[in-house]
């Protein structure tokens, strides 16, 4: 239970030309804390406690998805923030941007079926003891795994990493989300839907937790668990 006088943690949500999910990300973040948008040309993160790199088609996704956004002033600041240990969540295009920035291992390639696909997917939470998944399961002492039902919508979502990298991230517990059996529609290697960095403060996933924060819309609020996990991590660190 949060004490009423405790200050809310603050999320900074990036907005690039071509972003389209930043407003939902902002609304989702505001369910657990304060949140403000950060324009891509701004290199000041405004003292945010955590950053969300949202979905969309940053800079038109020309060349490769996320390739150009990675060099924006806001992203340069996010890379520095991440290197200092700040929490960074990348959703869909944000995941692609974080991979392009080498904050996360691997790359996202065109879906194996070459189609843009939009559907609800079931995900298995592989680890519930991380800064991004600790509100999954039944909380501390609860089951170590959980299933999330959240939407995915993308055409470049096929997770790829070389065999050595895959083995290393599996061993280090960096694969946090997998598509449940039969749900891997994009051809991701080892059914990977979300990975974190080795340090545990940067996480990216292709499905959209920010679109599943209210059961009235889409029938699931599972996405809120990712934002709630980040709140718990930040407030744990601040306490």
């Amino acid at each position: 239970m949060r004490r009423v006088w405790a200050p809310l943690m603050r999320f900074g949500v990036l907005r690039f030309p071509g972003s389209c999910d930043e407003v939902d990300a902002l609304a989702a973040a505001r369910r657990v804390g304060d949140a403000e948008l950060i324009w891509h040309a701004d290199s000041d993160l405004g003292g945010a406690d955590a950053i969300v790199v949202p979905g969309g088609f940053s800079y038109g996704d020309y060349l490769r998805a996320g390739a150009i956004a990675r060099f924006s002033p806001a992203m340069e600041a996010v890379i520095e923030f991440a290197h200092e240990g700040g929490l960074v969540l990348g959703i869909c295009n944000g995941f692609q941007v974080l991979c392009e920035a080498r904050l996360l291992p691997g790359a996202l390639l065109p879906n194996a079926n070459l189609r843009f696909t939009s559907r609800q997917v079931h995900l298995e939470v592989v680890h519930t003891d991380t800064a991004f998944t600790r509100a999954c399961g039944a909380g501390a002492g609860g089951p170590a795994t959980d299933r999330l039902s959240i939407p995915a919508k993308h055409s470049w979502g096929r997770y790829y990493a070389g065999e050595d990298t895959l083995a290393a991230i599996e061993d280090a517990g960096q694969v946090l989300l997998r598509y449940a059996p039969g749900e891997n529609f994009n051809g991701s290697l080892r059914d990977i839907a979300g990975v974190r960095n080795a340090e545990g403060n940067v996480f990216g996933l292709m499905p959209h937790p920010e679109h599943a924060v209210d059961e009235l819309l889409g029938g699931s609020s599972d996405g809120l668990k990712i934002f709630e996990s980040m709140r718990l991590a930040v407030e744990g660190a601040l306490a």
Binding site: L63, A67, A107, N111, A161, G187
Partner: protein
């Protein structure tokens, strides 16, 4: 710069093209891969390698070749 998917990585675009060719009567075609060509004018050749590594290609998943043409 000629940029192509690294060997061994699933290339669904190449596969789709490969499947389309026999339908038009072109037989005996294999190993189709689709990449991209980037043309540019540059004053300082020494920058090209770094341009490819940092932006034009993703070395994790793509190979690239550079061809220099002088005007």
């Amino acid at each position: 710069m000629l940029i192509r998917p690294k060997a061994g990585i699933l290339d669904p675009q190449g596969e789709a093209v490969e499947r389309a060719l026999p339908a038009l009567g072109f037989t005996g075609v294999e190993n189709v891969h689709v990449g991209r060509l980037i043309e540019l004018d540059v004053e300082e050749e020494s920058q090209i390698e770094s341009m490819c590594e940092k932006l034009l290609a993703n070395p994790l998943v793509e190979d690239y070749e550079v061809e220099l043409l002088t005007r």
